[in-house]
């Protein structure tokens, strides 16, 4: 009876057969991806742009895709010796699909001119923006991040503490719950005109809005997490001599953590929305502002570049939160993979 420790943690063994060793499969997949990217590089370099266009970065873009092809080929060969690089095989179908998409985009814009300009710039125009306007973009990323991080951190902290308080204390529940029910469902952006008027700076106003947007879901989920803790957990701790403080810190909060993280995810999502709206309407910095500014100049390539960067940032932050959750909640089984 003592040997029933779960074995689900170990990976299933790969199928064995001709060309089925992980190294060989990784090599084939990696080389296929490299070949596709090389073809894209050739297409960009040797198929001339439409005569009336003057895309400055066509050759650089071709070089970039070519470099990627070389890197992929190297990684594919290195995968024979370094098992860590064999992940390339799993990524190969996506890398190929991405290359095909890029080739199609390049063809209908720069090469054939089928899509109207300036609304649909070719990929090299976005590369041009990223390279030429990098100082402004970096400044915008930093400004957005500073705003988001401050607001999110404040909102999550206040939301967490409030949630624990109303989940635990009857008095806190009596006084805070009605306020939460009344104000919570109001979209944070509805406060926008008022916030910019009340707060001394648009920066502090935006922090307030982001904190509000983050705080509501974090509060509600933390509260429901704390309120839903199995009462047997408390019985156990009480018979073992636990104080109230211990019950809150070592029983209620850890037991509520899975709920808290759901709240943190929801809060992060809404905080992105509020961040962009606040930057578009009031703050004179950040990626939201950049989008608005680019629209004013009908600089669509700049907008695509900003959107791309924004997508990378938001997705990166969500991934970061997932990693944190996986680390803290490794005791849970069957987590959703991001």
């Amino acid at each position: 009876m003592s040997s029933v420790v779960d074995e689900a943690a170990s990976e299933p063994k790969p199928v064995v057969g001709p060309f089925a060793s992980p190294a060989a499969r990784s090599l084939i997949g990696g080389l296929a991806a490299a070949a596709t990217w090389l073809a894209v590089a050739a297409l960009i370099a040797y198929w001339p742009d439409t005569p009336d266009s003057d895309w400055a970065y066509t050759d650089d873009f071709a070089a970039l895709t070519g470099a990627l092809a070389v890197a992929l080929a190297l990684a594919a060969f290195a995968g024979i010796w370094f098992a860590g690089l064999q992940r390339v095989r799993r990524l190969a179908p996506w890398l190929i699909a991405l290359a095909v998409f890029l080739a199609a985009w390049e063809a209908v814009t720069a090469k054939l001119g089928l899509l109207p300009l300036p609304f649909f710039p070719p990929p090299q125009a976005i590369l041009e923006v990223v390279v030429d306007d990098r100082t402004r973009l970096v400044a915008c990323v930093l400004a957005s991040f500073r705003l988001l991080a401050t607001g999110y951190f404040l909102g999550a902290t206040i939301g967490f503490v409030t949630g624990v308080a109303i989940g635990w204390s009857r008095i806190a529940n009596y006084w805070i719950h009605p306020i939460l029910r009344f104000i919570g469902p109001l979209p944070a952006t509805a406060w926008l005109p008022l916030a910019f008027f009340i707060f001394p700076s648009s920066f502090s106003a935006s922090i307030f809005l982001i904190a509000l947007a983050t705080g509501f879901p974090v509060t509600v989920l933390t509260w429901s997490g704390v309120a839903g803790v199995n009462s047997a957990y408390y019985d156990i701790a009480r018979t073992l001599g636990a104080s109230q403080r211990f019950l809150v810190l070592k029983v209620a909060i850890p037991a509520a953590m899975p709920h808290v993280f759901v709240g943190l995810f929801m809060g992060l999502g809404t905080s992105f929305a509020v961040l962009v709206v606040a930057e578009m309407l009031g703050v004179k910095a950040g990626l939201g502002w950049y989008l608005q500014w680019a629209q004013g100049w009908a600089a669509y390539a700049n907008m695509y570049a900003a959107l791309l960067i924004m997508a990378l940032l938001c997705s990166g932050l969500i991934t970061l939160l997932f990693r944190l959750r996986d680390r803290l909640l490794s005791w849970q089984k069957g987590l959703v993979r991001w």
Binding site: V4, V5, D6, A242, K250, P254, M257
Partner: protein, 270 residues
């Protein structure tokens, strides 16, 4: 109905290890729940005295109020009438000298086996000075190799042994067992019963076991208290003088079993 008179301690096969257990007196205890304004009587004037280091089993039909009685002994609830006393002192709340092992192991899923066992010491601020007791308790239940496992990785028997270690680490004077083996498969159950007896013999605590398994009660306990249907009253008390270690096939146990079934009104099926 036979009301349990306080028996002299020598009459029962008491632990021969240095006795650290406590006495427990239950005096005229009645309890009722309030179910939507309707009082639901659960316990009816229970009188019981348990000696130092004794192993007593409470046996009764399910839902008769056995677990309620245990919650009162643990100090998790207070009785509607009557009193419970440990060493002559009234029970007023939970205390780490009286530990309950529940039917459901209820381990904290976010803590490792080690962390779960360390819970009581941590709650009382003793962990820093008494770390070795966690390892001792794990060794006692045979889980030394699983200190870093999480509860979801354990089998039912291992979870229940962890729960037992979590209780034993506090060196309880009274161990309250609320059908602790009820959810285990029959083979694991038989192994764990023997383990419980040897733990009790080594550690010298007083044990109060609730079960609805007649064989389990007779195999483990020196005295079996048979309870009636709800509201529970003490219907009979059976002294089992068989020395430990016991053998399940002992004809004396079969005899006692017949007697217990009689008290439960089930002797026709025997």
């Amino acid at each position: 109905m036979v009301v349990a008179a306080a028996p002299s301690e020598r009459a029962h096969p008491v632990n021969n290890s240095p006795v650290r257990g406590t006495t427990l007196t239950i005096r005229e205890v009645s309890h009722r729940f309030d179910l939507e304004g309707q009082p639901l009587p659960v316990l009816d004037r229970i009188n019981l005295r348990i000696g130092r280091g004794e192993f007593v089993a409470l046996l009764g039909p399910s839902g008769c109020g056995k677990s309620t009685l245990l919650r009162l002994v643990a100090g998790l609830d207070s009785p509607s009438a009557g009193g419970l006393f440990v060493e002559g002192k009234a029970i007023e709340g939970p205390d780490p000298s009286r530990i309950v092992v529940f039917q459901d192991p209820t381990l904290y899923p976010w803590r490792t086996v080690w962390g779960n066992v360390a819970l009581g010491l941590e709650a009382r601020g003793l962990l820093r000075t008494h770390r070795e007791r966690v390892e001792d308790a794990l060794r006692l239940v045979g889980l030394s190799g699983f200190a870093n496992a999480y509860p979801h990785q354990l089998s039912g028997g291992m979870s229940q042994r962890t729960a037992l270690a979590r209780a034993l680490v506090n060196d309880p004077k009274l161990l309250i067992l609320d059908e602790p083996l009820g959810q285990l498969d029959s083979l694991t159950r038989i192994t764990m019963q023997s383990e419980l007896v040897s733990l009790w013999q080594r550690a010298g605590f007083t044990a109060l076991l609730v079960t609805h398994d007649v064989e389990e009660a007779l195999f483990l306990a020196g005295r079996v208290i048979v309870l009636s249907e709800r509201p529970a009253q003490i219907r009979a008390e059976i002294v089992n003088a068989l020395p430990y270690p016991r053998h399940r096939g002992d004809p004396y146990l079969a005899e006692l079993r017949h007697e217990v079934f009689g008290h439960l009104g089930l002797d026709a099926t025997w």
